[in-house]
Amino acid sequence: MENTITVYLEQENGERIPLETPTDMGLSIMEVLKANEFDVPAICGGMAICATCHVEVLESGELPEPSDDEAYMLESLPHATERSRLSCQLKAKPELDGLVVRLMPEA
């Protein structure tokens, strides 16, 4: 469908769950995960100040650079890796088609 991409959430057992994601609604990947009832606390509602929407990007095309706020948050997280992102800061855009993420422990 036009204006729709597929992003995948990788489960602990390696299974990748496809999530149909509209690109014309200004949704973030955090919102897409929540809308699909995955357990993302996202307590700050997408303001890059709680890090409870932390994901690791397993596969993607080119991703936008993190903003200073996002980079600051990621830098101060104990479990972050080179591939960590805050899912609330990744906007669902056509370039993200095929993105694969896994949820990271928040604490």
């Binding site: 100040i49 600051y72 830098e75 997280l77 104990p78 479990h79 972050a80 604490a107």
Partner: protein
């Protein structure tokens, strides 16, 4: 032992406003919060952000709303236990309660109001082998009294503002101070980052970038940490204290074991008065759930008003509650 009418667990906006609603009905409140300051999420997560949906305030900073609430409840002289987490609830034979905190404080009360929001804010813990085993024996998640670290060997971990601030402060206190940081840059306040880098250049602190503490060791008490440098070499440091500073995350924590009816980490309540399945225990604000629940400050305030009327019947079983407007009666201070 502290004795009061209502013990409020959580001093966020909803717990604070509950003091007002209870005070109008001449009920005294004692508040307990795990954080050292009142205000809950507003003080901890977003003190400088404006809120636009508080009736009568087209715009108010979260921190200012908390200050206003403190002013509004001052005539009712609430008392506080801050920096202590509520752990246990003991029901007494006469139907009253004793609330126990992590530091052993006891509060005797007739009604318990849980206004615990998202739960108590706990330190975010890194994945370090043996870490929990050494908590209180050299591993600390907070600097409560900097003097504890005087002339000691201290390792701090983290790359945020609190790690930078405490590195600067403890540089003059500790005998030897190491800051371990996973990244290569600091995005905290630029002045703090510069100061930390210059302390490292002057040899006053030991700065380990691209490094992670992976294990803590000791014999009853912490005496060493292992640091993985640049994902390959392991370096062992002799230390007295290890302080990981990675911010706070909310956890429901001990409330989970009180026998309350829960639904996905929230307490199920009856919407006529926000009572829980334990008589005399109410739950208001973000911590409760019911069909149509909205996690908004405004909704928590409403719940506090209904809770107070119901609690009145427990505290004054022989008196009939009559609604009075503050417009007519003003606010009668509690002595």
């Amino acid at each position: 032992m502290i004795t009061t009418d209502i013990c409020i667990v959580g001093a966020g906006p909803v717990g604070l406003f509950a003091v007002f609603e209870a005070g109008l009905l001449k009920m005294r409140c004692h508040l307990v919060d795990a954080l050292p300051a009142v205000g809950g999420q507003l003080s901890e997560i977003y003190p400088k952000k404006p809120i636009y949906d508080i009736p009568g305030f087209p715009e108010v900073l979260a921190g200012d709303l908390v200050k206003n609430l403190e002013q509004q409840i001052a005539p009712f002289h609430p008392t506080f236990t801050l920096g202590e987490r509520v752990e246990e609830l003991q029901k007494q034979e006469d139907g009253s309660f004793i609330v126990l905190t992590s530091e052993g404080t006891q509060i005797a009360c007739k009604v318990v109001v849980i206004a615990g929001g998202l739960g108590s804010f706990e330190p975010r813990k890194p994945a370090v082998e043996n870490l929990e085993q050494f908590e209180g024996k050299g591993v600390a998640y907070m600097v409560k009294d900097p003097e504890t670290f005087r002339d000691k060997k201290v390792v701090l971990a983290g790359g945020g503002d609190s790690a930078l601030d405490w590195t600067i402060f403890l540089a003059n206190v500790a005998e030897e101070l190491t800051l371990v940081h996973r990244g290569t840059t600091f995005r905290g306040a630029p002045e703090s980052a510069e100061k930390v880098l210059s302390l490292a250049e002057e040899g006053k602190i030991n700065l380990m970038l691209k490094s992670n503490v992976v294990e803590v060791q000791g014999n009853g008490k912490l005496n060493a940490v292992s640091v993985l440098v640049d994902n390959n070499a392991n370096q062992k440091l002799d230390v007295d204290y290890f302080i990981p500073l990675f911010g706070l995350v909310p956890k429901l924590g001990p409330l989970e074991n009180w026998g309350l009816e829960l639904d996905k980490n929230a307490i199920v309540v009856n919407t006529t008065d926000y009572s829980t399945n334990i008589p005399g225990v109410y739950a208001i604000g973000d911590i409760n759930t019911y069909p149509g629940k909205l996690k908004l400050i405004l909704c928590g305030f409403h719940e506090a008003a209904l809770m107070a009327q119901s609690a009145y019947n427990i505290i004054y079983p022989d008196k009939k509650f009559v609604l009075k407007y503050t417009t007519v009666n003003g606010i009668q201070e509690l002595a």
